[in-house]
Amino acid sequence: MTTQTMKQQLVVVGNGMAGVACVEQILKQPHNFEITIFGDETHANYNRILLSLVLAGEKSPEEIVINDIEWYQTHDIRARLGVKIVGIDRERRVVIDEDGGETEYDKLILATGSSAFIPPIPGVDKKNVHVFRTLDDTRALLEQARPGLKTAVIGGGLLGLEAARGLQVRGCDVTVVHLMDTLMERQLDSTGGEYLKRKIESLGIRVMLPQQTAALFGNGRVDGLRFASGEEMEAELVVIAAGIRPNAELARRAGLEVRRGIVVDDYMATSDPHIFAVGECTEHRGQTFGLVAPLFDQGRVLASAITGNTGQAFTGASPAAKLKIMGVDIFSAGSIDESEPGVEAVTYEDPALGTYKKLLLKDNRLHGMILVGDIEDEHLYMEWMRSGTDLTPHRRQILFPPRDADPGREVADMPDSETICGCNGVRKGDIIQAIHARGITTLAGLKESTRASTSCGSCTGLCEKLLRAVTPDFQEETRTTLCACVPFSYEQLRDIIRGQKLKSVEEVLNVYGNRKGCEVCKPALSYMLDMVWCGEHEEDRSARFINDRVHANIQKDGTFSVVPRMRGGVTTPDELRRIADVADKYKVPMVKVTGSQRIDLLGIKKADLPKVWAELGMPSGQAYTKGVRMVKTCVGTEFCRFGVQDSTRAGIELERRLENLFTPHKFKMGVVGCPRNCAEATVKDLGMVGQEGSWQVVVGGAAGKSVRKADLLITVETTDQAMETCDLFFQYYRENANYLERSYDFVERLGIEKIRKETVYATDADKKKLLDRLARSKALAKDAWLERETPVHATQFVQIQPMEVQRT
């Protein structure tokens, strides 16, 4: 029983994006509710939109949580997760859960969302046929996804394409089967659809349309699709993304007015005055929903109404949609129906660039748009559409509105009323106010306080620009993407290279990048290809820095330095004599003992390099590259009176095992015969420290710009065990560090515990895999200086002489 003074019971059914967003709005108002939220998913409220990015590996499930469990506790909200409501007794005002439990309500909000629509095709109940709606669905897909898996996605809308790309990035061999003859036909016209199709195909996804699936066949497990045309196609995994249906059954059974969705008025009230509805389960003035932006508006309207502040009404939504596939820029908004009376279309297309723009105007005002390939003007157009700007003065440049040379101007010129985050309805003014009022300096801070840029992510760039413009202390978030040419994280790129079997830098750039590449990504991709394919990639010297084209270190005057390998820092009189002879003969301006116990010949001309190497008769010391540099050793038991291990011999052996291999950044090692550490093994990327009867293997040390004492990885008894441990860590670092990440940053980023678990304490099978891959790489690794005999190109080292001017 409720009295005036007692709290009112507010029950929300559905712990999804719209329901919880509405509750967040209610909490901002003075209210007298005790809130209970039921959700049949077992997770706290997460961002469903970003499931596409979880599938594609761009985000982890933890990263897409919007409200964590603490949030519910802080706000005294009872969260009943994993509990499904199966009935509503409107007489007694209770909801009934699966176990028969009853919960009383004074006010009830239905926010049950929608479910994937499963077309009535025979065979959809077979194993390995999935939908893509929830985190659990996503996890199930991820469990199945593997390189080469034949995958069919039924449905070529936003969701289907995002699912297709996510699975393809995981290596699956994906075909999109679409019923209509245009992809994303709700957002695009046939020309736009054609451009999109070409782009999707260029990513390596097959597209079949129009193609009606008649049945899924297979014995228990799906084996393939049969089409209405009679053709068949093999498929081991099927994802159905053929649309959504509002979850209105609960309301229908309770006798509420339901058509396609739960019918609500402009204040989100259903036909029962105690019951409201928000989200995809609703139908408003004949319209149902499939994108979140209008649902958040609904939530705001309902929050006001339910707390007794009825004000603004919900007036429906103008659709705006963007495809969340990196490198495929598609934006569509407003009405795209050209046949509407009074509507005129202005279009532009450039097939070579893959750009297509179509603006629909009505009474000289922007009424709708389709942007493919170039969506930079999306915000300006949206503002024009929102404000109903008379475009007469802009008509001549409407397809290419002038862009300011100074990118900061774009945000500076926006009116405060302009929406920055369409999903969460955050305007420029709100953001600026939040930045000032709370001293926000990071994107994360801005997200937390305004919710801008927390849904689909398309406004991140703008938010950052605003932060940069408004706050002098703006701190950029560290980017995990490699570079603008190939906007993927290192992990994704490794998966892509592996999954798509890409063997050359050109291939990666052509399919996943801007076809050009630059001095940042080309060397990084070269490294990754070499590492992933254990040396069986297609080496492209044009993608390498000059040092790796000629295997020497370029100096400030364009000459090169030559550092031969001197394993363990041990040399012979013979070697020293040859070095001296070379230095004399080539008039080497400086001969220097390096900090790595070897000798550097500086100031050698490119054309002389092959001769110098031949005359030295020593292998490359890799002093010019991101690779294995050296093992520094002390004299150990052989001569030192304190020595307890033969550090010199162990060091030479270690150098032999790993030399000529490439690493994410330079890799220096050290081996010492006792803890006195004369060769500084504890400040090396990898070190062995001799103990009485054992070796300590230490990793992640540094004595460069930063100084860091290495972490102890493990202590082992024999030299052989120590070597194997070194191999394990070395290969693990090669496979998991980002390019240009030194071992000391790598060890700090991952934590020594995780590294131990995945190297020395890994299962024997996993260890063997690491060691096998290292062995494969090592088998193909060569002394680079042998290219003096077999150059990769006739003019690799040769100074080209101009031809004699020929006379006829």
């Binding site: 001095e519 820095f545 080209i800 020929q806």
Partner: protein, 117 residues
Amino acid sequence: MNAVRGWTPITKADNIPLREGRAVLVGDAEIAIFHLEGRYLTIENKCPHKGGPLCDGIVSGTKVVCPLHGQRFDLETGMPVLASQPGCVAIFPTRVDDGVVFVDLGGACKAGEEAAA
């Protein structure tokens, strides 16, 4: 061979690998010839910053990145990519005839200057 005014045969086109550059000393001018997907472009081989050998740079589209400190120049115009960088490099008209790269050494042109006749 029809050696046109100023056009000088330099080297076999094969001598310049795809997406790389090679330096050639012709008289007292050092030029860098680049090979981009069927096209050959020539610039002076001296970075206006501190004289870096541009022939050794990584090519990014039609730009080359100096190997010493990373300044970028457009091979088509000789212009620096960032307007804030000082100086540009001379460009030379280049064509390939019968598998041989010809460079018009008299046709050097720096942005803003007229081509010498």
